[in-house]
Amino acid sequence: MGQIEFHGVVKRFDNGFEALRNVSLSFEEGSMTFLTGHSGAGKTTFLKLLLCLDRPSRGRITVNGVDLGSLKARGLAFYRRGLGAVFQDHHLLTARSVFENVALPLRVAGMRERDVGRRVRAALTRVGLLERESMLPTQLSTGEQQRVGIARAVVIRPRVLIADEPTGNLDPDLSRDIMALFGQFNQVGATVIVASHDLQLIGGLNQRIVELSHGAVVRDIRPTPGSAHHG
C-alpha cells in the first residue's frame, strides 16, 4: 500500500469547529511529504483521519483505492498493522519497559518471540536507546520517550510511516538523525508523511512540503527535480 488520497475532506467537531476544510491531497506510493502549518492548523487532525482514529465529516480518504470509511473493525486492525505511527503525545505504556513498548506492534502482529527480540533491539539501536531497553518510559527524558515512540513506529518496517512532530523535543543533531532515518525508510519504498513546524529543519531536506492554515491547504511545494537528496 502507499497511494494515499484525500478527496474534499472536511472535519467538523461536535462544537461546530472546522479543523479541516475541503482538503484534497494525494501522496504517491513511496513519496515523502512534510506537513507544516501554525499551531492549530489541523496537522494532527489530518494525521488522525489517516490513521482512522476519527472519521471525516465530509469527503473521502482512500489508501490504494480503498475507502477507509468502508473498513470494518477487522479490516481496520489489519490496515493499522501496515502503518507506523509516531504520535505527538507518544502514547507509550508507562507501566511497561521500553523493550515491551517497542515490541507491542510485533506481538500484536503475532511475530515469534525470537524475532521480536532481534527486531526490537535493531529499532532501539537506530534511535540510540538500546541501553535503555529495560527502563520505564517515565524514567526517560521527553526526547528519549519520543524516540521510543519512533522505534515502535518503525519496528514493523511499515509501508506507510506517519509521524506527528517527531522531533518536537529533540536537539538539532538528533532531529536530523531522526529525519534521516525516515528518509531511509522512504528510500526503501515506504510512503512517509511527517508533520513538523520546524521549517528550518525540513526546508533543507528538499522534500515536498504541504502547508496547512486554518484547516486549508495553502501551499504545496514539490522538490526541485534532480536536486540532491538529503542523507
Binding site: 500500500m1 490513521l51 482512522c52 482514529l53 476519527d54 472519521r55 489508501v63 490504494n64 483505492g65 480503498v66 473498513l71 473493525a73 477487522r74 479490516g75 481496520l76 486492525a77 489489519f78 490496515y79 493499522r80 498493522r81 501496515g82 502503518l83 505511527a85 504520535f87 502514547h91 507509550l92 505504556l93 508507562t94 507501566a95 511497561r96 507491542l104 506492534p105 506481538r107 500484536v108 502482529a109 503475532g110 511475530m111 515469534r112 518471540e113 515502535r152 514493523i156 509501508r159
Partner: protein, 322 residues
Amino acid sequence: MAERGRRAGSKAPKEPWPKASVPGSWRRDHVRVAHDSFRHVSRRFGTTLLAWLLVGIALALPAALYLVQSGLAELTGRWDHRPGLSVYFEPGMGPDTLAAELREQFGVERVEVTTQEEALAEFGAQAQLADALGILEVNPLPASLRVVPVAGAGPADLERLAELARRHPGAAEVVVERTWLERVTAASVVARRLGAILGALFALGAVMVTATSVRLAIEGRLEELKVMKLVGASDGQVRRPFLYLGMLYGLGGGVLAAMLLSVGLTVVEAPLAGLLGSFEVEFEPAAFSLRFLAILLGAGTLLGVIGAVLAVRQRRASLDIL
C-alpha cells in the same frame, strides 16, 4: 478469531494491504495471553483470592444442596418407595401373637420380628454402647416388628394393618413409615427446587463477581488497550486477555467450591452415617464423583467467561478508538 478465519479463507482480499498474519500467530497470541493472565492473577493475588472465594461460595451452596438432594433421592430410591409399618411393644410384651395375626392378613408380604434382646444387641453393636447398656439392669429397648407389605399395597391397606396393630393390647406405638418416607421425598423435592432457585441466583452472583473483577481489570488497562488498537490489535486480541481472566476467576472459584464442599462433607459425613445407621440405612458418602467435580469446574469456568463477556460488552464503548 478474525485471524483464524482468514487463514482458512482462500478468497482474494478486498483490501490491498497484506492481511495474512504471520503463520502461527493465533496460537502464539493465545499462549502469550494465557501467560500474561496467569501473571496478572498471581500479582493481584488478594483480589484474585476474593473473586475465587465469592465465586467458590456461590458455586458451593447450590452444589451442596444438590448433593443433599441426590443423597435423599438415593435413599428413597433404595427403599423402592415401599411403605412399611413398624409396631413397638410395651416393655415385657412379646411380638409373636400380633406377628402371627398380621401374617394372615391380605397384602402382607412378610413380618420381621425383633425381640428385646435382639434390639439391645443390635443397638449396642451399632452405637458401640454395649458397655454402657450393660450397666442397666433392665432392657430399655422395646421389642418390635416390621410389616413389609406386598408390592403395590396402597395407603388404605397400610392404614387397615395399622388399625389392627393399634387394637392389639401390647402395642405401644404404631409407626406408619409412609409418612416418614413422604417427608423424605417431600424434603428432596423441596431441596431440588430450592437448589434450582439458589443455583440460578448464585450463578448470577458468580457472573456478577467475575464481571466486576474483569471490569476493574479492563479499567486498569484501558490505556494499554487503546495503544494495542493503535498498532493494529483486532477486537479479538483486545478481548482475549479478559476472557482468559474471567476463565481463571471462574475455574479458581470452581476449585475453591470443590474444596469447600469436600471439607463440608468430611465434617458432616461421620455424624450423618451414624444417624442413618440407626435407621438401618447404609450411608454412602454423597456423590462427589469425578463427574460432579468436572461439572463444578466446568460451571465455574463457564460462569466466569460469561461474566467476562458481559464486562467486555459494557466497556466496549470506551475501547472504541474507531
